[in-house]
Amino acid sequence: MTAALATDAAAVDDLVRASAGHMRRRLLLDRVARYGLLLPFVVVFFPLIDLLYWISETALPTFTWATLTQDQIGNGGGLHAMIIGTAVLIALATTIATLIGIAAGLYTAEYAPPAIARLGRTAGNVLAGVPAIVLGFWGYFLLVIYTGWGYTVLGGALTLSILMVPFIYRTSDLAFSAVPASQREAALAMGARRYQFLGRIALPIAIPGILTGVILAMAIGLGETAPLIYTAGWANVPLTGLFSPTSYLTGAIWLFYSQPPDIGLYALAFQAAFVLIVMVVAINVTLQAVAEHYRRRLRGLFS
């Protein structure tokens, strides 16, 4: 009896020891995963840091005030015309895309029957996945050749706006959908009409959310080259009107990167890249600030 008990106890003891070893191994594996999976962050972000560092290091020594205020002259000069061109292109495209995107997003979230809303959302994602070069090609045929405008700021901005629409559309849709039902019911109980509810209650709540989409779309538009090269053309001097061709920062990189290193245009490519990076970082910081504000506001509404 006692002997049997003793063997049982020994067996249990063995089992516990074995499973403890097993447990240690499992926990070790968990720990390996926890820290090992951090490695990819290094793999991905180290090159990013290298890129940022390299651009600054290359562009800054020759970066002067004249870089920003001079037009491109011969084989040198500055980025003045390109900065203006980029600013005008982005401003125009953002305006167009915002009007279209908010209207479509509002309708999808508020009015559209479920089937149509679903179709709209799917199509929005598809549009975001259409290659930029295809849009550029389309813009070239429609806005440069077919309309007879030639290379114009307007053509470039319209092409760019198509590219930006899905992002504003998607965030508007989400922002209007996220308006709490309690707000809607309160408006209804007070006898508000739908447009009154949308205009006075839903819109103020949704605006920061929409704004994140707009800022994001600006960042996307800022970085595009392919849709602009064959629609907005190129010009060394600042644009004179909506129907004149223009230069832009991304174009400077594409056109000058393969120039011989000893002429000024080559340096201009790096300076354009540097200005672009600064803009992108600034836009991202703004984006985070607005998104944080929006998150707080929504949380406040729900509690």
């Binding site: 990013l48 009015y111 994602n125 629409v165 090269i229 064959y230 990167y257």
Partner: protein, 336 residues
């Protein structure tokens, strides 16, 4: 709980929940709804407009019998018959896009697992912001970085190293490309352009695994890693595949950065180091010369239609599988 993002009420990415049906002046809305219904379909109309306009411009010629072939031969003088085989470019695109996708998907999966399970919310947020920054860097900037910084380094160090260690694998042997430009460099650059979207979609897929399944696993004494491998990855499988398709669509559509680093040789490269081309980058850098040759322009229109079709197809598969779209990179995750 860690995996629930802050700001609970923000709806998860994917189809937004329909607003509650509240009868706002029900007698008048139907007509208004009917009249305005195309507004919700603006994105669809835009896609259709682009496709139809290009189809119309292509005049549905589908460039001769050789169009779907593998040969490309363009003679500007017109003395010899032209051959515009689109298959060549699709194959070249895949040679670049698939390896880039494989590497990017692996990196993204690890990053998504880290952010969803292991990292505290704050570092997770910071890394998500950094990933968004990665998506925000203009593709030309990647291109110039690749051409000026990476190409010489690839030529002198990376190519010989890969050749030395893995030269026995078919496609990794053979002559190196001394300047460094070529498919390998394009693959490397593309990784950074795919990672943001695959990471975002994978992150959302892993987050959307029901909490009761995860908690059941943890309650049984499984470690986080075991729950990840046996429960989360299995449940989120479709979403992860969807991420891969969305990433592939992105990789195939990239034109500028690839055009800057791939070396522009129209052929099927004998190995991964050799200069090559892709469908998108070919359209991009040939557009200039096509202005003088209507025949070439015609072929490019049809190439761009094939590219559009491929991108839309991959995007639809990816959306179908993951329930998320391309725009999720920015609008999903940490709230709108």
């Amino acid at each position: 709980m860690r995996e629930v993002p802050e700001g609970q009420p923000i709806p998860p990415a994917g189809p937004a929940p329909a607003p509650p049906a509240v009868p706002f002046s029900a007698s008048r809305t139907p007509l208004v709804q009917w009249l305005l219904s195309p507004i919700a379909l603006i994105p669809l109309l835009l896609v259709a407009f682009v496709a139809i306009f290009l189809l119309w411009k292509s005049q549905l010629v589908w460039f001769g019998p050789s169009f779907f072939g593998i040969n490309y031969f363009f003679d500007p003088t017109g003395l010899q018959p032209n051959q515009f085989g689109v298959t060549l470019f699709v194959v070249d695109s895949l040679i670049v896009a698939l390896p880039a996708l494989a590497i990017a998907a692996g990196l993204s999966l690890a990053m998504a697992v880290s952010i969803v399970v292991y990292l505290p919310p704050m570092p997770g947020r910071v890394l998500t912001i950094l990933t968004n920054l990665l998506a925000g860097i203009p593709s030309v900037v990647y291109g110039i970085w690749g051409y000026v910084v990476l190409a010489p380094y690839f030529g002198s160090t990376v190519q010989p190293a890969i050749f030395g260690f893995l030269g026995w694998i078919p496609g990794l042997g053979g002559p190196l490309s001394p300047g460094g430009v070529g498919s390998l460099l394009a693959i490397f650059i593309l990784i950074f352009m795919i990672v943001p979207i695959t990471t975002a979609v994978m992150r959302e897929s892993l987050r959307s695994v029901p909490h009761d399944l995860v908690e059941a696993g943890l309650a049984l004494g499984a470690t986080q890693w075991e729950v990840m491998r046996r429960i989360r990855l299995r449940v989120a499988r479709r979403g992860l595949w969807g991420a891969a398709f969305l990433g592939l669509g992105r990789a195939i559509g990239e034109s500028v950065a690839v055009a800057m680093v791939i070396g522009a040789s129209v052929w099927i490269p004998p190995n991964v180091y050799a200069p090559s081309t892709t469908l998108a980058s070919f359209i991009f850098y040939q557009l200039d010369s096509s202005f003088y040759y209507p025949v070439l322009l015609q072929a490019l229109i049809e190439f761009s239609l094939v590219l559009l079709g491929l991108a839309v197809l991959l995007n639809l598969i990816g959306q179908r599988a993951s329930g998320l779209g391309t725009t999720v990179v920015v609008t999903g995750g940490n709230g709108p």
